[in-house]
Each structure stands twice: as C-alpha cells, then as structure tokens.
Amino acid sequence: MTLQFKPDETFRNDFVYANSDEAVLRFPFPFPEDAYMYAVNIEPHVPGGPSPAYDNPFDLDEHYVAECRERAKVLEQDPGRCKVLPHMMAAQWDTLELIMESYAAAYPEHFALTRDGTLWTWENRPLGIRDTFTFGDASTLPLPPFEYITRQAQGDFTLQDQRDDNLFIDGGMVTTQADWSLDFDVGMTFHQWHGPVPLAHQKGVFDRALKFLLRLQYGRPVRRLNWTMTINPRLDTSPENYPSWGPDRTTVTPDNVGRKVHLRVELQSLFRLPRSNAILFGIRCYLCSIEDLARVEIWGKRLHRVLRDLHPDIADYKGLTRFRADAVRFLAPLDDGAPLPAGTAPGQSVLPAKG
C-alpha cells in the first residue's frame, strides 16, 4: 500500500485529524482479553501479527509528515524535549544508522540511503531533505545525529545506557508523550523513571523487565504495547504543557465523548544498539477516537469491558477519572456481553459507514 500523507493535519488548537478506514483497521489494538492489568507483555519484534503496524522495525502511516511538523513546533517552544547526555555519542550514531537503514529498506519509494565508505547520502522525499555527510563526524550534519534523525522519524525515542547491571535513561526525543518528562527523568535508573507507575512495582513487573532487557541482544528487538486515553487528537500531552491540555478533560460530555476521547496506544520497541551497547526505545503513538474504534465490533465491545472493570489506581494514574464513566456509557449499548475471541485482530476487513 502506498502511503498517502496528510501533511496539513494538526494536533492542537483546531485539531484537523482523522484516521482513514485503513488506518482504523491497522490500529494496534492493545487488549487481547476483557480485563487489563500490568504484565511484562514483551514479545519478539518480528514482522507479522494481527496488525500491519508490526510489519517493519519502525512503522510509518498517513500521519507521518504532519507528526514531524508537530515535533518541530514543540521543539521550537522547548528545545529541552530533545536531550542526550554527552557520553551517548556512539548511541546517537547507532540510532541514525538503524532508522535510516530501516526506513530505506521498508519504504524505498520515500527514503534512500547511499553509502560510499563513511560518506553517506540520505534522502527523505516526504520531508524534502537530502544531505550528504560523513558517518561518525557530527560536524558534517546540520544537527547532532540523534536529533537529526528523530526529527524525521514518527514517534518518540529514548536512549538507555547499560552499566552497573542497570539501565539509565541518558537521552531522548520526547515530544508526543503520555504525561512524563524527559527533562526531569534524564539520567535516572530503570526503577527510578518508572517510579510513579502504581501496582506494577509490587507485582515485580519492573524487576523482571529489567533483567530481561539487560540481556537484550543485537538483532533480536522486542516490542510491547502500552495505552492510555487522550482528549482530542493531541500528541503533546507532556507534563510541561499540562496547563494547556489539562482543561480538555473537563470538556467531555455524553454528546461528544465518542469524538473527543481517543484511545492512545504506544507501540514500544526495544533495540540493542551494536556500537554503543545502549538500548533504543521507540515509542510510536497511535490515536483513534473511540467512536471510530467502535466501528470494529470486537474492539468496541472489548474496550467497553476493559474500561468498565479497570482498577481505579490505574484509571487514576492514566488520568481517566473525569471522563471514564461517560466513555463506558457511550460504549455500553454496543456490547451484548457475548464472549469475544482472545487476541487483538479486528475480525473484519471493512468498516461500516460512520453513523
């Protein structure tokens, strides 16, 4: 499928944003069961699975160009959203190499990477970029390598350094986040930056995940899904700008809940980087209104059950408290209570017309 980009979409103010039917059907729906609880839901990041979103190391969709423009706007306001500690230079080049190679291989009609020894030429046609530079020599790029490539990539990224049997979040490009701050967390250990997550520590989720990640091997990336809900298709729900987006949560009414409330899914991928031995963490964000999601029959029913029965601590941590009841009421009439198949496949290949 050739990607049809929608460069004029916006993720703030007037919110000009919509998912095509194809985009809804390829949404990485995160609930394989009717109930949700934290778990180490990590699996090998190999092509295949219930959504084409899993087919490439880094997935692109119709929102790519608009998301890169949104990122540029955030960075103009707050350059600190991209921060890399000085000892991470090798990891910066690792990231550039991995994303360029992956994009060029997966989307050759849009990206090209040509190499002559260390002299590289990178072409990004959707964004109109063509640069020739010397790999390993940061002075030959217009920006530091990590910022250069992640400004052209869809989704947030963080860099984890591994030392002393721990992971340290020592860099990142974080402009489309679900309420966490890179500026505040940079340099923290694995357990410190996950500090605010309720319940999961007691369940040992982070101990197990850390041990697993310390052994993550080059060439064997893994992925997991995380989710929350966002009012309006807003990418930048950062703590920094909470005063700007926090009031959105009080604007939900029974009439607009289906259009306003979006399921926000993060397709998180983890790659061992070969030169630096650091780990690249990709956080690719997908937004879909619950009205659109409910056009997939199985998803509408399952989302209803998950939201209805969610542990209140998790609902509170994810910031759903003010509008959860409205969302459940919107979805309840669509749920006949019939048993649903396990898994996240949509179970249909076309969507009914918008009601």
């Binding site: 923290m188 920094e240 009031p247």
Partner: protein, 201 residues
C-alpha cells in the same frame, strides 16, 4: 495525584564507614559531632577527614589533625564558613583524588544532593558515595512547566517562584536536578485547589 511509595524517592539509612574504602571524607551541613554523623569511625581502615559547615566567619577551613590513637585511623577536622566555602574546597580535593576514596554526606536533602552531583561530576560511582538525610524535611521543588527550582518547600502545595503556578509537590525525585517534581494543581479546573498540608517540616 500524590502517589506515595514512588520508587524514585530516596530512602536513607544511617551512615557507616565503608570498610572497603582506603580514605574517607565525611561532609556535614551542620557542626554535629563526627560520631553522631557516622558509625564505624574507630574501625575504619585509612584516614578520615571530617568537613562540616559551622555557619560562622570565625572559622577558616584549616585542617585540625588529630594523631591516631592506638589502632584508630587518624582523623582531621575542618570547619567551613558556609556551603560555597566547603563546595569550593571539595572540588579541588576531588580533582586530586584517586580511586579508593569514599565520600559521605549528612544533612538536608538540598545539601546531600548538591554533594551527590559534584561527586558524580568528579567521576565517583554510586557505590563510593553514601548519603543520609538529617534535619528539616523541606524540599526543593522543580516546576515542570517553567523549570524554576523553588527551595525550602514544607507544604504539599507550593507556589512556583518562577511562574506563580500552584504546584502539587509529588514524591517523584530527580537526582540530576536534586529536586522533587512540581505539577500545576489546578490545571484541569483552574481555581480548584486542594488544601495545602504541612508535610515536609
């Protein structure tokens, strides 16, 4: 919003001399007796230096050595006029030091995390630094919206010195910023503020 049991909040235990260290430097933000600051002084292998802030101009930071008595390691005390006086001397000392040193700090959180940052910048590993809280629990709060640090906060709600926002003081602590996170309390519904409680006296 105020979630307790956050793993990033430091948990302190009383200081004791690390027997594996070859030289020991103990730092205190008040003139407390060395034995009150740290255990194991008499069992230490290697010399102990004890630097403390006397908060008076009548001291001069000169070393006052005590000869080793019996099997005890020698101890050298230095009184400093104020925090910058001590930090200035500490930077010089750490630049000369070799692997084998252990650093200890005791005092309010602002002090011990200033020391921790200096130590990290000098190349010390976490295992070579022990910190213990003593004195007031008041917090430095980092406003996540405007990046201002507001010191000496004792209440669950604080007014940011930079942007004036009413901040909820969370338990999420950044060692890099030596501060707790402050998030606007009434962002969702302006004016709806929870009562401020005095929690960090």
């Amino acid at each position: 919003m105020l979630v307790s049991d956050i793993k990033s909040r430091p948990v302190y235990s009383r200081l004791s001399i690390d027997a594996a260290g070859r030289r020991h430097l103990v730092l205190s933000d008040a003139p407390r007796p060395l034995e009150a600051a740290i255990d194991g002084v008499h069992a230490a292998a290697g010399a102990i230096d004890y630097w403390f802030i006397a908060a008076t101009s009548t001291v001069d930071g000169r070393p006052a050595p005590e000869p080793a008595a019996g099997k005890d390691a020698p101890i050298e005390r230095r009184a400093f006029r104020a925090l910058p006086h001590l930090l200035d001397r500490l930077s010089h000392r750490l630049a000369q030091e070799t692997v084998g040193l252990r650093l200890y700090s005791v005092g309010e959180e602002g002090f011990i995390w200033d020391i921790a940052r200096l130590a990290r910048d000098a190349g010390l590993e976490e295992a070579e630094l022990r910190s213990c809280h003593a004195g007031s629990l008041r917090r430095t709060v980092f406003c996540v919206h405007c990046k201002t640090r507001t010191p000496q906060v004792t209440t669950s709600l604080a007014v940011c010195e930079g942007c004036g926002a009413h901040l909820v003081v969370r338990d999420h602590f950044s060692r890099g910023l030596a501060a707790f996170m402050g998030v606007q309390a009434d962002a969702e519904a302006p004016g709806e503020l929870p009562p401020a409680e005095e929690l960090f006296r």
